[in-house]
């Protein structure tokens, strides 16, 4: 009797087992877990960067120190400052074609990848310009659109699009964030992992508004750090074998003022980060024209308590 129904039972067991695995896997994919408790990211040191400055600069006899100015205060778009007190400038008018930039990332060859930024006045082209990643060619010094994202949709109710990027020396890729489509109720931004060579998206993390991105290698793991555009928080995603653990968002630090947003993250030295903050409300109001509104924090990783502590709160 049992033998007769064995095939039916077996098939039911197989279907239920596969179903259980699939439901589990899908639910972990859907539910992003936020780690709010102390999380040991491990101690870290400042690593030697793999990047270099654009090669055309040496043809122009530009020597170190060189800085890239995206402040938009004196120069629209991009400018290289160099020489004593950075008093010399390279800023061809052609570099203003794509209006204003917010962040840059250099690569191994000296190409500069640039993220756009809407700046105070809106022109008919402004929204379209926010849909691109730009590239300043290391050899020619020409700026062009490197990659266009149709799905990035800035609008009058959120004029921002692509906003930040960072170069990954491990596999020569870019991590890029966009904060378009987000509104007062929901965050709908995306972090993209981009294959530079083939100009294609390798991975994406959705529903995240990252105002800034930085890669951090610790003794144990690699992390993508990001400052939230909506809250005064620094988060991290773990990256293993270049795959991002997108379902595990680790909260690393909360700024003292609820109005601040992290705009820049620098790894200063072993276990030390420098965070630059601004007020940010997804509008074009020039909050940072008031220097009092900009803050800088030094934070140190505490390997005992598994948290960052402020050195200059």
């Amino acid at each position: 009797m049992f033998k007769k129904y064995l095939p039916i039972l077996l098939s039911l067991v197989v279907v239920i087992a596969i179903g259980f695995v699939i439901v589990q896997k899908k639910s972990t994919q859907k539910n992003l877990k936020v780690v709010d408790e102390p999380f040991n990211i491990g101690s870290f040191t400042k690593q030697k960067p793999c990047i270099r400055h654009p090669q055309f600069l040496s043809r122009l006899n530009v020597t170190q120190p060189i800085t890239i100015d995206l402040s938009q205060q004196q120069f629209k778009g991009l400018a290289f400052l160099y020489g004593k007190n950075f008093s010399k400038v390279i800023h061809p008018r052609a570099w203003e074609t794509f209006e204003h930039f917010s962040t840059y990332a250099l690569d191994k060859e000296g190409n500069v990848f640039l993220a756009p930024m809407p700046f105070i006045s809106i022109h008919p082209t402004t929204f379209n310009l926010q849909k691109n990643i730009y590239k300043l060619d290391s050899l020619t010094g020409k700026i062009s659109i490197f990659m266009h994202f149709d799905e990035v949709l800035p609008s009058a109710s959120n004029p921002y699009g692509i906003i930040s990027l960072v170069y990954d020396c491990d596999d020569e890729t870019l991590w890029v964030s966009a904060i378009d489509k987000s509104n007062y109720r929901e965050q709908k931004g995306t972090i993209y992992h981009i294959d530079i060579k083939h100009k294609r998206v390798l991975q994406r993390v959705e529903n995240i508004d990252a105002l800034t991105l930085t890669l951090l290698k610790t003794k144990t793991d690699k992390f993508l750090l990001f400052g939230s555009a909506r809250k005064n928080l620094l988060y991290a995603f773990k990256i293993k074998k270049q795959k991002i653990f997108k379902n595990l968002k680790i909260k690393l630090l909360e700024l003292p003022s609820a109005n601040e947003r992290i705009r820049k993250i620098k790894i200063k030295k072993a276990n030390h980060l420098e965070l630059q903050t601004i007020p940010f409300s997804y509008t074009l109001i020039a909050e940072t024209s008031n220097k009092n509104e900009r803050q800088e924090y030094s934070v140190e990783w505490d390997n005992q308590l598994f948290q960052f502590k402020f050195l200059n709160k």
């Binding site: 279907v15 439901v23 899908k26 006045s121 109710s157 909506r230 409300s281 997804y282 109001i285």
Partner: protein
């Protein structure tokens, strides 16, 4: 194949098929909720400083300040109850020390300061030289707050030798407040009508805590970060929530209130009045329409992303009047002399400046100011406080209607290159209404020309007709514009235009402002445009329209087509006044200034200019 085998194959087939379908079915993935803005309930202040002038603690404080200023001094010292024998001596030493008192006088003007605290010196306040001295001697430190500059003066005093060792000024820093100011803050909170209303009773001092008073030398939680603010709280432990009252000690008033959870996670690290306002405004006026019914008028209103306050679907005594009225832009232009490189890209006070060549070695430069929601918008001038409804009076102080108004400001107004605008809609009891743009300066200079672009879509029916008066009424047949400022004839010496429905039994006269509205206006000097309604022409949020500085064009020209008939069409009126500011003493117009008042505190002087046409119903 047995029946059981067939059934098991069926189970496998359909089971796997369903699982494949389940795997690829996307469903609706919920956006992450934990990062959305926390929704605490926010209470905006409805009353100004005057409300608290009769609170005894405030009265005594202001009276002492006036008396001190009268005596040619500017510092309110700590009272006896905050001093012991040592700190009393320290205070006396400091109040006679020129270096400590240096910031209390600017030219001949006295600047209000309060001594906030005097206590034994903290090692962290000392450099190595002073550490040596203070190891041997008894040292004290004192902090004094400058209410005008928002700075703190800190002094280190060697009590034994009666010597001031060091005086430092910390700009934009605020010290721990004195017990007296703490008491005043509590009194203001206890007497605030908004707090009473929220708690549904008069609050008691014992339920109040001041745990979140200023930390030493930290930033301010005020709307204006240059004001000294503290936040006493009223806790309701049963409901696990607390009412935070943000008190502005610079202006001696309640700035805002907020209900928040008691838990550590919901207690804000720093409450900012501005962020509270932003959230309140977003939730109540940007994300949804509000409705108002009063004196026969009925309409909805909302704050737009870049077109200011918009009134929609207005009716009077049941008859439709307006589909929409709003000020879509303020063009701000300044005249300059000399040549200009039009490709030049310049920012002034953090804003993009446009340059346009003019005639005879002249050029114009300026901005387009979009007014919009405080978050998620293209706005550069932000709404302060929510829209307000107030009674409207005529020149004889008779109530004649009401008005709806929204204040927009750059946060740093009235500093140079910062602006303040008011969008106002006046509704009269006789069915008239007026769209008003108010400019309160201050701008970047004295040669400013302001042009608010008003868009008025009447609702007299799907088919409307437009007329201009030039001795007799002439109907406009196609899209066109007119310079009101050049008009010589007005019907009844008031009306220059009129709009009627096609059956000619309903309509409104348009009465341009020529200074007859008793608001010290110098007139509209406007350009008027009439276009056929097209959805893409401003029915939704318009981004900045046209050039700030090309005075030959107002931006609306792009919607004008002389071949487009407007006879019997749904019409839109665009009205663009032109105002020149004036900074001459006694003649100020569209201007604002800050002065040090007789009490040693900053006073803002406003010289508003108001423009906009009145729409008067035609009696048939």
């Amino acid at each position: 194949m047995t029946k059981e085998i067939k059934i098991s194959i069926g189970i496998l087939f359909f089971g796997v098929l369903s699982l494949v379908f389940y795997w690829f079915y996307d469903g609706s993935i919920e956006p992450i909720k934990e990062d959305t803005f926390i929704e605490e309930r926010i209470i905006l202040a409805q009353y100004g400083s005057e409300t608290y002038r009769n609170v005894p603690a405030v009265q005594a404080y202001l009276s002492e300040l006036r008396s001190i200023i009268k005596r040619g001094k500017a510092v309110i010292p700590l009272g006896d109850n905050e001093l012991n024998s040592d700190t009393r001596v320290v205070q006396n030493i400091l109040l006679a020390d020129e270096k400590f008192l240096k910031t209390t006088k600017k030219k001949s003007q006295l600047i209000h300061h309060d001594v906030m605290n005097i206590h034994a010196v903290l090692v962290s306040s000392l450099n190595s030289g002073l550490k040596e001295i203070c190891r041997e001697k008894q040292c004290y430190q004192a902090e004094m707050y400058n209410f005008v500059d928002n700075s703190t003066v800190r002094a280190i005093v060697n009590l034994e030798d009666k010597k001031v060792l060091q005086v430092e000024v910390f700009p934009n820093m605020q010290a721990d407040i004195s017990l007296r100011l703490r008491h005043i803050a509590q009194e203001i909170a206890l007497n605030a009508p908004e707090i009473k209303k929220e708690l549904k009773r008069r609050p008691r001092r014992e339920e109040m805590s001041m745990a979140n008073v200023r930390g030493a030398l930290q930033g301010s939680p005020c709307e204006n970060s240059e004001h000294l603010c503290v936040a006493p709280t009223f806790s309701d432990y049963e409901k696990e929530q607390a009412l935070w009252a943000i008190i502005d000690l610079t202006e001696l008033k309640l700035s805002a209130g907020k209900w928040a959870g008691l838990g550590k996670t919901t207690t804000p690290a720093c409450i900012s009045e501005r962020s509270l306002q932003n959230r309140y405004i977003m939730k109540n006026f940007c994300e949804k329409d509000s409705y108002l019914e009063r004196n026969g008028w009925k309409f909805a209103y909302r704050l737009t992303g870049s077109d200011g306050l918009e009134v929609i679907d207005a009716s009077f005594k049941g008859e439709s009047v307006l589909k929409s009225a709003k000020i879509v832009d303020w063009h701000v232009a300044y005249a300059g002399k000399g040549s200009v490189d039009s490709a030049e890209d310049v920012q002034l006070a953090g804003r993009h400046v446009e340059f346009v060549k003019g005639e005879k070695e002249k050029f114009f430069f300026g901005y387009n100011d979009a007014m919009g929601c405080p978050m998620f918008s293209t706005s550069v001038v932000l709404p302060f406080n929510a829209p307000l409804v107030k009674d409207l009076y005529d020149e004889k102080k008779n109530r004649v209607g009401f008005y709806l108004t929204q204040d927009y400001r750059n946060p740093k107004w009235p500093m140079a290159c910062n602006y303040r605008y008011e969008n106002r809609f006046e509704f009269f009891d006789d069915g008239s209404f007026r769209v008003v743009g108010v400019n309160k300066g201050r701008g970047c200079g004295e040669e400013a020309i302001y042009r608010p672009v008003m868009r008025i879509d009447m609702a007299l029916g799907e088919k409307e007709e437009f007329y201009k008066y030039s001795g007799s009424w002439n109907k406009w047949l196609s899209e066109q514009s007119d310079f009101q400022r050049e008009a010589k004839f007005y019907e009844q010496d008031k009306y220059l235009y009129k709009i009627l429905n096609q059956s000619l039994d309903r309509g409104y006269y348009i009465e341009p402002n020529r200074g007859q509205f008793y608001d010290n206006s110098r007139g509209d000097n406007a350009t008027l445009f009439v276009s056929k309604y097209k959805e893409q022409e401003g029915s939704k949020d318009l981004l900045t329209l046209g050039s700030c500085c090309n005075l030959e064009k107002d931006g609306v020209e792009q919607y004008m087509n002389e071949n487009e008939s407007i006879d019997g069409e749904n019409l839109v009126i665009w009205y663009v006044p032109r105002i020149k500011n004036d900074a001459r003493e006694g003649q100020e117009y569209c201007w604002a200034d800050t002065v040090i008042g007789l009490d040693g505190n900053i006073k803002v002087q406003e010289f508003p200019c108001s423009v906009g046409p009145k729409f008067v119903p035609i009696k048939f």
